[in-house]
């Protein structure tokens, strides 16, 4: 079936916000940190403070695309006993807060669960789809079939090193949006974003992507405003995880998270958008 015939929860939200003249704020938190109920409460608080789309991370033992902050949180989550199947109930609860929920997961936990079974259970929980940091479309045959069958978004990543041919093939394989890595590197807060981020967004659109969101290193409101001026969405991770890591109690962590989220949301809303072509 053509991807065009499948409704995309994420694309609908991005298009709605685009119609309102702004980019989306997409917030990442890992499932199970500080514990499963705490992570659900934090994600809901994040939506209430201005996040438009939630990226919920499945903790994995070998997160090669993640920097120290997310590694630290994920290691705690795994030590606390979080299970992969916990993600479905969490998605169901978070989705009720009104934001589409994408699940960010390394590939082995999905492969081990069963690709079609994972897609089926995620769809049943009301999830929007998957962001897959270590799965390129070339290896994603089974996931492409399963995501079509269950009507889920599949967000693949493009990088500054991607060739024009790969920008085109990755854009064609994606649904929801294409995730543009702002810089060469892993997740984490950066004071400056790669200068190539806006060029990558333009190149990815030119290669056929309808929606492109930018992540990796975005941590400050002014960076969010800058990215929001040219991208369809701003993806923030480590800067949202940090307050939860640094707080002594969940309540204090959520209070810190709410403050950071609100500032980022204000940054996104303040952006002067360049004309989309």
């Amino acid at each position: 079936m053509s991807a065009l015939t499948i409704q995309s929860k994420t694309a609908d939200r991005l298009d709605e916000l685009n119609g309102a003249g702004r980019a989306a704020l997409i917030g990442y938190l890992p499932l199970g940190f500080p514990d499963v109920p705490g992570s659900i409460a934090a994600a809901i608080a994040m939506v209430e403070a201005g996040v438009d789309v939630v990226e919920l991370g499945v903790p994995y033992s070998d997160p090669v695309m993640d920097g120290p902050i997310i590694q630290n949180a994920v290691e705690h989550a795994l030590a606390g006993g979080v299970r992969v199947h916990d993600v479905f109930a969490a998605v169901e609860q978070i989705a009720q807060a009104g934001a589409p929920v994408l699940v960010m997961t390394y590939w082995n936990p999905v492969m081990h669960y069963g690709v079609d079974a994972f897609a089926r259970d995620l769809a049943a929980a009301g999830g929007a789809g998957l962001i897959t940091p270590d799965l390129i479309p070339d290896e994603a045959g089974e996931w492409i079939v399963a995501s079509d069958a269950h009507g889920l978004d599949r967000v693949f990543i493009v990088a500054p090193s991607s060739t024009p041919r790969r920008l085109a093939s990755t854009s064609a394989a994606s649904r929801g949006f294409v995730y543009a890595a702002s810089t060469m590197g892993v997740t984490g807060e950066r004071t400056t974003l790669g200068a190539r981020a806006s060029a990558l967004v333009a190149d990815t659109r030119a290669a056929g992507a309808a929606r492109v969101c930018v992540g990796l290193g975005v941590s400050r409101p002014e960076q969010a405003a800058d990215v929001a001026s040219y991208a369809d969405g701003v993806i923030v991770g480590s800067a949202l995880v940090r307050p939860l890591l640094e707080a002594d109690t969940l309540a204090a962590g959520i209070a810190g998270l709410t403050t950071v989220t609100a500032a980022l949301a204000a940054g996104v809303r303040s952006a002067e958008r360049t004309i989309r072509t």
């Binding site: 090669v64 299970r83 990088a159 090193s161 890595a181 892993v186």
Partner: protein
């Protein structure tokens, strides 16, 4: 002569990746794809370029000391049912193991691509030492990631790498061993790929590493096959090698893949015993999944989380294995057996005492396997063992295991390792 009747289509020796049967592939971040493609393209060109091949051959001859010899070990073999046991002496290579074969090829490739910095992961330190050596020789900046636990177990190799001018970064995440060193090296590579080549140490990882490292290690088996024919007048009955990621094993197996009468046996690290759960016997006790960029067997829990491996041998202490091994196991062309720490150390001591050769503890797993195979097959059997490395780096571990340190008389096992830490700083 035995080759002439086989069609090329039936050959097992030509598999180049990205897939070996259902194993292999490239399960990595998109950011690395351009570099992997570049490496693949350049290696495909280099391996048929007479200039590259001559330069590599010259380095083998004048730097590594190839061809490595074979040594028949009758006093050792007397404990193995009287079978003839022949060792392929990769331990005699410059830097002390087979790792140099791969590293010289990849260092030449790094120069061809025009990159100036190399990174590597290391477990026992042998691959790190080999990479640091090649980096010194080729004037490349070198950073080696090594699990903190391994920097303690292999303090001598940490010192060697630093003497050679490499930066050694202890990795403090996860199990603090080889698995986490690879994670950290991959993070470095994603960040610095424009200037940096990842000199991967084994036949695991994303395409093109499994096929490329295999091609660079094939020389072990190519030499050994002819050497055994010259010595014995026939092919060996069994070729045995230890398997962590599997590069020395693939290196010696490959020349025999199309000799169906030759059994290929990989010896995995059985740690405290496979039944205890504390081991690194990936094919014996694991299941298919994705780790470090390839689909292959791995040790994983019910959620697909990687399980930490355990072995006295840092070089085998890895919960994954190269995809070509998983393929060879799946088609029953090679068989894989576990060897416990205790079995390996018994074989280690036996080779020291009977032949005056101190093997790497990794290679001692292959020796222990050869003892079992000799007893199973009897006195007419010819067993070729890849002695992949020498044991200098393991002297402290072995001394602690056998309680032979004067400072700690009669101490056996872990307690004696404490004494190592004081000398660990450099």
């Amino acid at each position: 002569m035995e080759q002439s009747s086989k069609s090329a289509r039936e050959s097992l020796a030509t598999g180049a990746g990205p897939y070996f049967g259902e194993f292999g592939g490239r399960f990595v971040p998109e950011a690395l794809i351009a570099a992997l493609d570049e490496l693949d393209t350049e290696f495909q060109k280099a391996k048929v370029d007479p200039e590259f091949l001559e330069e590599l051959a010259r380095l083998h001859r004048t730097y590594t000391g190839r061809p490595s010899i074979i040594t028949e070990v009758p006093r050792f073999a007397a404990h193995a049912g009287g079978a003839r046991i022949i060792l392929k002496r990769e331990d005699l290579n410059h830097t002390g193991s087979h790792k140099i074969n791969n590293v010289l090829g990849q260092a030449l490739l790094t120069k061809r691509i025009g990159k100036t910095r190399v990174i590597a992961e290391t477990g026992a330190g042998q691959h790190g030492v080999a990479t640091a050596t090649a980096a010194a020789l080729f004037d490349l900046e070198c950073v080696v990631y090594m699990g903190e636990e391994d920097t303690r177990r292999q303090a001598l190799n940490v010192a060697r790498m630093r003497l050679l001018g490499a930066e050694v970064i202890p990795v403090t995440t996860g199990s603090r061993t080889l698995k986490d060193a690879i994670n950290e090296a991959l993070r470095d590579w994603v960040t610095n790929v424009e200037t940096t080549n990842y000199v991967f140490g084994t036949v695991a990882g994303p395409h093109p590493f499994p096929g490329m490292v295999r091609d660079l290690q094939r020389i072990i088996g190519v030499e050994a096959r002819q050497q055994v024919l010259d010595l014995v007048g026939r092919l060996p009955d069994v070729v045995a090698a230890c398997v962590g990621g599997g590069s020395n094993a693939i290196g010696i197996f490959h020349a025999f893949l199309d000799d169906p009468e030759v059994r290929l046996v990989g010896l995995e690290a059985g740690g405290d015993g496979v039944e205890t759960g504390r081991h690194a016997a990936t094919i014996t006790a694991g299941s298919p999944g994705v780790l470090h960029g390839a689909r292959s067997f791995l040790l994983q829990d019910d959620d697909g989380q990687t399980i930490e491996s355990h072995s006295i041998s840092a070089g085998l202490d890895y919960p994954g294995v190269g995809p070509e091994h998983s393929f060879l196991a799946s088609i029953h062309r090679a068989e894989y057996r576990p060897i416990t720490d205790a079995q390996a150390m018994d074989a280690f001591r036996l080779l020291c005492r009977t032949e005056g050769i101190i093997p790497a503890i990794e290679s001692a797993h292959a020796l222990a396997g050869a003892i079992d195979l000799g007893r199973e097959l009897g006195p007419d059997a010819v067993i070729l063992v890849n002695l992949s490395g020498r044991g200098d780096k393991d002297v402290e571990t072995a001394a602690a295991w056998f309680g032979v340190l004067d400072a700690e008389p009669g101490v056996v096992g872990q307690d004696a390792v404490v004494g190592q830490e004081a000398g660990d700083t450099l």
